[in-house]
Structures are given as structure tokens and as C-alpha cells.
Point group: C2
Chain length 267, copies 2
């Protein structure tokens, strides 16, 4: 029995996103797992990270987010909503973020969940050690994570040469920068395309595909992002010259491209 | 005389972000320009896109964001805060987004400005013509745009082989997907690195660099993103086989890489 946290961000109960959440809860429970959910719209989640997040300030005169985040986390002075979400993430063996792709990223309410819940001392600056533990190490090491997105446009637009860019590259700031950063193993993104004009049959097919994807949630191989502390970044900043030699850009941070050549190139 | 809109997202008046806004306002006014600002924290901008954005619904039974956005925009039934921001963008010759990089993207309050202000019929689905006008054409054609970001970590981490990925590739969902999409000419991102540990001297240098960058706001060459309707995408979805032949991924959508080889590779 595992615990899975599903954080989702659509206010319409009949939406495809909510149908996918319901399908996930059912599928995972049928497998004997426990499912936690964070319905951000239903919770009226506070999206904006601001001074109200720090009721007990380290510096009352000047708001410095990193400093106050670290102070609040270390001293148990976070707001209760943030602390509760952190407890759910820490309790989970896997975290799924379910959201509609808006302007090639997360809806603001979900970005605000990350901004507020990913505290200094926990998701970054783990153990007060600066960047010692990021990218493959950290407080969330050993947990799995997956994005599940609904996309209005067609898959072709997100294909390797599609006009929007490949979906997995557009989501790199989330998969690599937000989930792998504090140590999670991130699975390839699950996407339903063409939701702007989707019919009942396609919805049923999308739910079936999502269910069968979830059945392998704990078996599937994660995206082979390179670990900071695995030897590829000797100074913790830049790739060693003999690693992905001559290569630049996002894809240089994905290992095993010979065995997983399309890790970030397919839609 | 031009009009420049600066949308900014930091609540602390003494923050580097706010100092950069002040420096920009002063520099641009000294050049004889008119500056409009949207201080999102100061305005207590509503970040969350939800049913309250649609006081007069096309479909009261099921909230479908694209449909309601198009209905509200076409019928003048948007909320007044959204309409006011659209008027500012439409009045501007250039739009600058000034923000701290949080988890490799915009703070939620700024993402929520995009989610709500970039309406269907205006920023996408322009003239009710689906994707006819996107990427280089559209309601905001002829305007310039630029991101100005403060970055906690060092520049090395965002260098061509840096562990975070190159900054300009991380920001592609914003530069290409959010600003170029409705037709803006997007300038290379302006970044100040290492703001986690910045001293007074470095702040002064950062402000000076920002001021001189702004002096060429209307002369500088934009990122040469390929226009959807310029011939490179015959079906409006995928690159023609002879364009950037054999290339995949985000960088395939930047033209003239021979003359601007580092367009998305340098930090």
C-alpha cells in the first residue's frame, strides 16, 4: 500500500481535469493505495505568496522571501495551510499534479501552491546547506512525481518539430526545476491533447489511457535527469566537459539519451 | 514619444525588483517616453482565474474557460480590472515584465495576470479565427516585449551547460508561448544573477546596466522567433521539412541561428 497525493487545479466539477482526478482516485484505490487530494479551487487556496505568509518575521522592516521562508519553516511559524500541504507531500510516496496547460504552464493557483509550499529548508536550501542537496537529492528523495495535463491544442503542435515546442521541453522548469530539484523521481508527463474540441468517445479513451498509465505508477522508469551529486557536475554548477560533450541546453541534463533518445523530444 | 507598460511583481518597496522598476521609469521618462505601471502586489491583483471572472456566463451550467473568456471579451462583460489591463497593453508600444524568478518561472500573481488578461479573441483566437494569427501576428503585433528578471542563483547555473538549463530556454514558454504568440517582438531577457547575496556595489551596477539596456529598447533586435505565417509552417502546426532540417526542440523555432547562434543558448 502506497500513498499518492493528487494536487489539482480546475474549479469545474464536470471538467475533464476533474474526471481524470476521479478516475485516478478510483484506479489507485482499487490497487489498494491510499489517495490524498488537494483540490486547490475547492480549498480556495491562497495563490499569492506575500507578507501574510510570514506572521512572525525575521526582518520586519524588509520582506526578503528566501530569508522569511527559511525562518518560518525552521521555527514552525508557517501558516497552517502551507504546513498542511507540506505534511501531505512528505507523507506521499508519489505526487501527481493534474492541471490544464495555460500559456504553456501551470494555472496561477497551482504555481502559487509551489511558490508557497516549496519552502526554504525543505524544497531548497535543504538542511541549511545551500545547494548541497538539489537535483536528485533532498527532502523529497525517494518519492515519485508526475504531471498530468490537459492541452487544448493538437498533439502535432507539441511534436518534436511542432510550432509550440515539444511539451516535455516546455515543462522542464516544472519537471526538472521544481520536482527533480528537491529530489523526486519524475515520470514522463501524461498529456491529453485536443481538449478544446473533445467528444465523449475521446474522453472515455483518455480516461482509460490514464487508468492504465497509473497502474504502472511505481514501476515506470523516470526521466533520466542527471543527479547533481552523481558525478556529472563536479562543481555543482556546470556539466563536466566529458559529460554530454559539446552539448548545450535543456537536453544535456538528461542522461542515457542513447537508451531513451526521445526523453524530452517527443510530445 | 512612446508608451511603455511595466508590469511588476514584488511587494517589498526596497526590493531589487522595485529598484529596477524605479530605474526604468526614470530612464524612460528622461528619454521623453510615457510610462504606465501595473504594480500587481500594490493593486492586490486577483491571481486566480475562476468563475468570478465571468459575471455573465455563456453557459451557467459548466465553466469552460476558453468559451467564457471569448464570450466575456466579445460582449464587453469582462471584469473591470481585466479590461483595464488590456487597455494598458493595447495602448503600449512596449511591455516589460519585471519579476523575481521563482521556481524557474513567474510568481503566481504575474502568471495570474497572464491567465486573466490574455483573453480569447484578443491574445488567442484573435478575430475568432482560431490559430490563424498566432506567433508573430495578432492583436499585439508591432509591440515590443521584454522580461526583466532577478535570479537568486549564479549565472553559471544558467549558462549553456549550467545545471538549471539556459535561462532563455527556461523562459521560452513566456517569451515564445506568451508574448510572441499574440504578436509581440520579444527582446532577449534581461537578467540580474546572484541576487541572493548581492551587495550595494552590485546593485548599483545592475541598475546602471538596466538603464543602458533600456536606452536601446526600441532599437535592439528581437529574438528571431519564426513567424507562423512567414512560410516556415505551411500547415500552421509543424516546421516544413527543409526549415531547420533535422532539428527538433525549442531552438528549431529560432531563425537566423547562423547570425544569432546563441539566441537561446547563452544565459
Amino acid at each position: 500500500m502506497k500513498k499518492i497525493l493528487i494536487v489539482h487545479a480546475h474549479p469545474e466539477p464536470a471538467s475533464l481535469n476533474r474526471q481524470l482526478v476521479d478516475a485516478a482516485v478510483q484506479t489507485l484505490q482499487e490497487q489498494g493505495h491510499e489517495v490524498l487530494t488537494s483540490d486547490l479551487y475547492g480549498m480556495r487556496w491562497k495563490a499569492v505568496f506575500d507578507e501574510d505568509d510570514f506572521p512572525s518575521r525575521a526582518d520586519p522592516d524588509r520582506l526578503h522571501f528566501v530569508r522569511e521562508s527559511g525562518h518560518a519553516y525552521a521555527n514552525g511559524r508557517q501558516t497552517s495551510d502551507v504546513a498542511a500541504e507540506q505534511e501531505k507531500v512528505l507523507a506521499a510516496d508519489a505526487v501527481i499534479l493534474q492541471f490544464p496547460l495555460w500559456w504553456f504552464g501551470m494555472p496561477a493557483i497551482l504555481k502559487g501552491w509551489v511558490d508557497r509550499v516549496w519552502a526554504y529548508g525543505l524544497a531548497y536550501g535543504y538542511q541549511g546547506a545551500g545547494n548541497r542537496y538539489r537535483y536528485g537529492d533532498g527532502a523529497f528523495k525517494g518519492k515519485r512525481a508526475m504531471l498530468s495535463v490537459t492541452v487544448g491544442g493538437p498533439a502535432a503542435d507539441y511534436s518534436p518539430r511542432g510550432i509550440n515546442g515539444p511539451l516535455e521541453q516546455l515543462l522542464f522548469p516544472i519537471t526538472h526545476g521544481t520536482l527533480f530539484f528537491p529530489g523526486m523521481d519524475v515520470l514522463p508527463t501524461h498529456a491529453v491533447y485536443g481538449t478544446g474540441q473533445i467528444d465523449e468517445e475521446a474522453v472515455a479513451a483518455a480516461k482509460a489511457a490514464w487508468r492504465s498509465r497509473l497502474e504502472r505508477l511505481f514501476e515506470e522508469a523516470p526521466i533520466p535527469f542527471r543527479r547533481q551529486n552523481g558525478g556529472d557536475y563536479p562543481d555543482r554548477h556546470v556539466l563536466a566537459s566529458d559529460v554530454a560533450a559539446g552539448q548545450t541546453g535543456l537536453l544535456a541534463h538528461v542522461a542515457d539519451r542513447r537508451t531513451a533518445p526521445h526523453a524530452l523530444e517527443e510530445a
